[in-house]
Subunit: 163 residues, 2 copies
């Protein structure tokens, strides 16, 4: 519980630091500035995700296919990082996966009304990176995006990049 | 355990981000650049410390004096944030306190040889802020510094600012 709040507070601080810094250097933020913040947070998340999955899969058997990896991420990895399992996993069997978390832990700190809906993306960039980093270490290059329509529920879309 | 590593990885990332950013904008870092990094990390820590102590003392009785506050910080607060109690608390009874942690959790990730001793301050700025933030919320303005002579042992010095 305390470690959770330690992480939560630090995560909030970082998001706010990135945005404040970007804003104060320019006065006002345009879409490009926002993209810079998102990208920095996402790449931090990427490396954190890599680190965590590395520890988590140290003693795991190898995975038999892509879906098997995704199931591990939705269950074991999600529980470790986001404190619960993904509620719903869907796929088109062509490399696109939708992971729905009905009570996404990074959003439960924010009010669940519509008021802060436009603030949600700030708090999802890091998480998208975490997921992408984990998948990358398991051999899956992907693009991960997140979407919130009703707080604190969140849908992550993973599109695996085929080479 | 996982939440710990989540926090640990994020903390490492932030430290590295701050230093890389400062370095890349200038080429090389001088003492002033280092001071900027330390100050940013310290103030992040400050706000995190405030948040944590606020939750932690919500149901606590009030403290009878300064030493009582320090004991709470060394025991309950330290355990929550740094996962163990302070090993030794000393004071000159004039507002200076030395808190010794023989196995400081933010340093146990680093190799315990002398090799990374000069890197240690980077990883202590945030912690100093956390302690200062907690004390500040309990009504004690202070200056908090940290010193490492043998890893992963760490001495925090708290000097209470009398008005």
């Amino acid at each position: 519980m305390a470690d959770e709040s330690l992480f939560d507070f630090l995560h909030m601080e970082i998001v706010s630091h990135m945005y404040t810094e970007q804003q104060s250097s320019k006065g006002e933020m345009d879409n490009k500035d926002r993209a810079v913040c998102v990208s920095v947070l996402e790449s931090m998340g990427f490396r954190v995700g890599q680190g965590i999955i590395e520890r988590l899969t140290r003693d795991s058997p190898s995975f038999k296919d892509e879906l098997d990896v995704m199931k591990f991420v939705c269950k074991d990895f999600w529980t470790k990082v986001f404190r619960r399992q993904v509620d719903n996993l869907r796929t088109n069997h062509q490399g696109t996966y939708v992971l729905q978390d009905n009570k996404f832990s990074f959003l439960t700190q924010l009010s669940s009304g519509k008021q802060y809906l436009d603030q949600a993306p700030k708090y999802l960039a890091f998480s998208c990176g975490v997921v992408r980093g984990a998948l990358s270490n398991l051999g899956m290059d992907s693009v991960v995006t997140a979407e919130v329509s009703v707080m604190p529920s969140c849908k992550f879309q993973v599109v695996v990049q085929k080479l």
